[in-house]
Amino acid sequence: MREPSGRTKRKIRWSKLYTFSCFRPPNTDPVPIENRIGRPGFSRVVFCNNPHLHRMKPHKYPTNYVSTTKYNVVTFLPRSLFEQFRRVANLYFLLAAVLSLTSLAPFTPPSLIVPLVFVVGISMLKEAVEDWHRFLQDLEVNSRVVKTHIGDGVFVEKAWQQVSVGDIVKVQKDQYFPGDLLLLSSSYEDGVCYVETMNLDGETNLKAKRCVEATLGLNEDATMNRFEASIYCEDPNPNLYSFMGNLEFENESHPLSTAQVLLRDSKLRNTEYIYGVVIFTGPDTKTVRNSMKSPSKRSRIERKMDRVIYVLFSMLILISLVTSMASAVLVSSQMTSWWYLRLQDKDLFFSPSKPVLSAIMQFIRALVLYGYLIPISLYVSIEVVKVLQAVLINNDIQMFDEATCQSVRARTSNLNEELGQVSIILSDKTGTLTCNQMEFRKCSIAGVSYGGDLNEVDLAASRRMNSDMVAYRSSVDESDAMSQGIEICEFPEDDIGNQMGYVGAPEYLESLNLKNQKISDVHRESSIKGFNFQDDRLMDGQWTRYSNVYHMTMFFKVMALCHTGIPIEDDRADKLKFEAESPEEVAFLIAAQEFGIQFCKRTQSVMVLKELDRDSGSVLEREYKLLNLLEFSSSRKRMSVIVSTQDGQIILLCKGADSIIFERLADDGKSYEEATSSHLLCYAEDGFRALAFAYRTIERAEYEHWDSVFTKAKTTVGPERDELLESASEMIEKDLILLGAAAIEDKLQKGVPECIDKLAQAGLKIWLLTGDKKETAINIGFACSLLRQDMAQFHLSSVKDSGCGNQSEAILAAKKALVSQIESFSQGIQVENKKHMPFALVVDGQALEIALRSDVKDQFLRLAVECSSVICCRVSPKQKALITRLVKEFTGKTTLAIGDGANDVGMIQEADIGVGISGMEGMQAVMASDFSLPQFRFLERLLIVHGHWCYKRISKMILYFIYKNIVFGLTLFYYEFYTSFSGQVLYDDWYMTAFNVLLTSLPVISLGVLEQDVPSDVCHQFPALYQQGQRGICFSWKRIISWIINGAIASLIIFLSTIHALSSAAFSEKGNVADIAHLGTITYTCVIWTVNCQIALVISHFTWIQHLFIWGSILLWYIFLLAYGALPPSYSNTGFHVLTEAIGRAPSFWIITLLVVVASLLPYFVYMALQRTFYPMDDHVIQEMKHCKKDVFDKQMWLREQRNSKRTTQVGFSARVDAKTHHLKEAMQQSGASIYRSFTNSPIYKTLRSSPLFQ
């Protein structure tokens, strides 16, 4: 990567998204490193073991302190103030406050400044608290300790932030690297160490790093004493996969590459310790350079709210214009004759000779005067509400994960309501859907499948068939009407027996069996990690009794020998633990051990197995000489070992993808091919990853001939080496004899299929984006029911370019091929659509690269959106981010990205909502996310319950806010018609101040925090309710305008009623007439009553808190009025004794209040009654059902509606069960015989046999 380091991060970010490394020329650098050192971009010098040299210039580098905070003590005030006043509304209020200091404003300064300070202060406080939490998190990372050399071979623990460039550090097993290190040596003699880079790229397999030979000897504390060397290398850059440099050690120069560099945030695995020199620290490290600032996201509603604010601003400007125009006309015409005003040209507002100037002045004054149309406290109220909502989300016990002691965290609170509008979920696989744990589940040896053949889908389908049968039976008998309505498509629960209790004896017994099987399943799961297999035919050495024991032995030997793992001692004497590059191999080794062939020792050339001897029944230790190891690679898709047994026989053991193995079978090795492949199909449908096993024996002569070819190929240097190796392995990996296949389950996290099912029913689409292989991705697709066997799968893959030199031509060709693929698929969809066939699209990374180019992407996305599920495999982090962005832009819908690793960071930041899985060790994804979940399954509750609630709450809240400010603001405007547009204010300044801050703030906050349209269990039961958010019906322009109109009508009613009720005649028995103060106070009282009663009509869920706030606010107004009136008149101005002496004593005041409140709420009430009567929304109907307790009395209807509300979906567990049931029914109708054949082992078969249909 030759990007100059001086570029801004932003540029790097764009480059990351738009350039794809695959199309770059391979990194064959014609210029030798030596020539580049010291040039621009390669100027870094590190003096190993001499950190003090880096404390001064010119080799002073940043410290290892990494900061993610937004502000520091100095910048907080200016920067956060700047952030605050970037909001148009706040800026407007700032200007208004400044104006209030002059004579321009109609109010006194405090009445404008106090709310502004209050509002901005709270927002800034929130920012400060959030940043403080970030600081604490940084502190935790920066104060992790690492052993650092301080001279004389002594290592002491130092905090990470104190580590500096040139330090020698000793990192222990399972520790993170404090910075980018150069590997000097490791606990292994050959200087190899294993590194887990999950935090960087999400890949779970371990990577081997190897030190240069010169430093191999430095593997003890003491040797560090005299070690001195210098490193000349590239400048800090964000490229994770390149490093260039030179190590000058003992007057020799050693070239360095990525193989020697250990990156910050990766973790040392399988190695006791390593020594390393710190090359890059803190902000210079590649991970930190790679990290992007999380973009500040705003929810859809908030963005729309901005537009609403603009609408209100235009209203404001409009009425200000009306006011100023009218005022100017009056000033220049009539007002001159109003002698009592003594108009003078000096008074700029009412200057008869300069009407234009006074119009302008009046306009400015009016802008401030009608400012109450703009809800000043809206932003701050929303912020407060969202923080409280986030607190409630964080404290939800149902989203607490006992296993990891983590609960859901809303890391940014400003996206709560966005959770209620998600349409597309983009999910990572490893660590998100799966727990990155492989389990040996089933195997097919010599044509017989072991490990049970029922899966959950079959179980659920058979159960449904059973209950259908019962329904049928009872309808025949007309005896038991109850059972008809029994819910039948629920997920299998532990307590099958209870559910099945009514089915009748045979079925019941059957289900009891199932139950037992289930229980033993659970039991076993806890006993051996990585092994979830139960079949008495194989366990406890039973397999040795079978006739084909030779093939069985060979099968287990493939598991025990064909791998790269090593055994580790465990505390349990007879069982070992294993570590290997991939978790699959570990699962195989554990399985082999359970079956009685234990891999117990590995040296450079010998592998030792403890085998169960068939004849003696005792355990023998046998040595196998490892002759060759043909490694696994993604193109070969197979791995072989060639071993020679103790009696001199040479065998090749091979495992690999079925298609690859089947191609290479000998003619006499195909005896199990048919059976095995049918089993493989079943395994694939269950979502297991299956590998075929095969072997062959090799004649010694043949082997020796081949060995010489292979060795020659191995020692070849140059580009043709790979090709030679490939052909060499082809030579020997042939004529194989098939043994069988083993199925590994990439274990899904708890509750993932159920969660996906629910989300799909709620109308969410789920895209799987994984860096993993296509096969694995498809497996997982099956496992979590995103794919099923009867789905039409479209595989979009790029054609391998034929090696033509010209790159652009290759791209062009690839593009052409891809476009034609896409077109044919789209046509396929159009044809198939009529048959209601579900589709799935599987895309691999290379195809995606082309598909996401600007000229193809629309076509591609159109296709992808049509499909029920989309799986993208082999995608890079950049591509994940790019897909996310394109999907977001193309569909215009809300996207949610969920992932756990650093490779998901881009996607998490790009999506409208980013969710990080926090259960895993890496923190990058969590740090970049907006919400963090301990487990994928909590996504359901987060979206369907909290998302739904928050969406409704915030929508209602904003609409109400607009309403309340319009009601209040417009009364000011209407009054101007009676004051000759002179800018006189109807209310006392302090009333105005109290309106937003004191008297109407708490009810609306209680609405925003506590409102529930339906309780949480109903949210779960009726996923369709979620679609209100997806379709955005709660905050549509129709609603916004309606509320604005409602506000305008209410204020008109309030104003006209009060001024007519307080006409010139006396308003009290004492003959007093009303003046401005009385009219203002009475109108204001009506406004307070109206807006607070209006919110009571809006709220549908009253706890004592809402009652307290709403009625308390009204009460508070009277208390305020009393207190204010009791102040000395120099403070209380017109409010002095106004309640006690004047209006409070007049019955007309109370009568007016009653009239106005009822009259102003009447339009809304009528509208609501009509809507509820004729066009009730789903939540209304469900509320009514709950209200009438129909869910208890009419359970049948309740359950039926739950089922109906589920969106017909093609993905998810239920859909699979549906499909299966459908399939079974068809089969049943056709003939009994076919059922016998295909389901002999299933409970369905037995059920059918005992059912009346078959008798």
Partner: protein
């Protein structure tokens, strides 16, 4: 994720303990509030509620409306517009000139009592098209000065009526300057003098707290331009009730202000003779002047609005209650009828 087990087994129980503690501390505490399970009432608008709400409103409102209307009808009010009639016919072409010229402007009006009027009878003057609520006018006063003798110099907002020849005007400002100065004296049945009590017409709090007992008018109406009434410099402001009433600026351009109280009953067909000093210039801005004698009810003066409004709203609610009753009878919707659910209403929307 296979994490390697530690070789030392001795630490295990301790760590298990601590992890248990950690678990408990991290686990959110259960409370009905945080789990959003607070007991709540969830009122919904059932037809019964809708109809009863409308009925309730009409049941409450119609009696109040009737009571208000009766109260308003009980009030006896005599309104006499005199601004034109009190100008001699010869001067009516240029009323402004007439009112601004010096001379006797006495005018006699005769009022007839239509109905028995119970005391107290309030005497108001009513001005039309007079913008006492104009911003420039409203602000042109100094509460500080009115309240406090020592703050005579506090005339900040009073321009141009703040100073005269270098000395402060008390009370300053346009409001005081434009004090209403028509005078009324009444006699009943052409002989008997009818006393008008001009005390107690202002708010008590104004007299006691807003207008100082030791503040006396100074330099008032002594400039070249005379606005309205003059004040007796020997009477403190707290006793100048006409001023206090006037200084309570009216909210609307048509307003009445108390002039005094007649504390005796008037019988039906009594004639009242009003000797009227027509000085106040409303002619420049075409303002009407009216003299109003009115009794009050418990609801105040004569104003049918409240009664009519109450009857309207009550009647409307009654109508709505009936309408909704009919709707529910004709086209009853069962509460929680599942056929109204969106997925049942238009099954194609999926």
């Amino acid at each position: 994720m296979s994490s390697p087990t530690l070789p030392s087994s001795s630490g295990a129980p301790g760590s298990a303990d601590s992890s248990a503690v950690r678990r408990n501390s991290k686990r959110p505490k259960y409370s009905k509030f945080t789990q959003q399970e607070l007991p709540a009432c969830k009122p919904i608008l059932t037809p019964r509620w809708v109809i009863s709400a409308f009925m309730l409103v009409s049941i409450v409102f119609i009696p109040i409306g009737v009571a208000s209307l009766f109260a308003s009808r009980d009030v006896v009010e005599i309104i006499d517009r005199y601004d034109i009639d009190c100008i001699p016919a010869s001067n009516r072409t240029d009323k402004v000139q007439y009112i601004q010229s010096p001379g006797d402007k006495t005018c006699i009006r005769t009022l007839k009592v239509p109905k028995h009027m119970k005391h107290p009878i309030y005497v108001y003057y009513q001005l039309d098209n007079f913008y006492q609520n104009h911003r420039r006018y409203v602000k042109s006063r100094s509460d500080q000065q009115l309240r406090d003798n020592s703050s005579a110099s506090d005339v900040g907002d009073c321009k141009p009526e703040d100073m005269i020849n270098g000395s402060y005007i008390v009370p300053c400002g346009l409001i005081a300057w434009s004090l209403f100065n028509d005078t009324y004296s009444f006699s009943i049945n052409s002989s008997q003098n009818l006393t008008v009590n001009k005390k107690g017409i202002s708010w008590k709090s104004d007299r006691e707290h807003k207008f100082g007992k030791d503040v006396y008018p100074k330099n008032f109406q002594s400039g070249g331009l005379i606005g309205g009434a003059t004040l007796d410099p020997s009477i403190p402001l707290s006793e100048q009730e006409a001023l206090i009433v006037w200084m309570r600026t009216a909210a609307l351009p048509t307003f009445r202000k108390l002039y005094g109280k007649i504390e005796q009953d008037l019988e039906e067909n009594d004639t009242i003779r009003v000797t009227l000093g027509n000085y106040y210039n409303t002619y420049s801005f075409n303002g009407k002047k009216k003299l109003v004698l009115s009794t009050t009810s418990w609801l105040g003066g004569k104003n049918d609005f409240l009664g009519i409004a109450y009857l309207t709203v009550g009647g409307l609610c009654f109508f709505l209650a009936m309408a909704f009753t009919i709707v529910y009878l004709v086209k009853p919707r069962q509460l929680g009828d599942p056929s109204y659910l969106s997925w049942n209403r238009n099954p194609g929307w999926h």
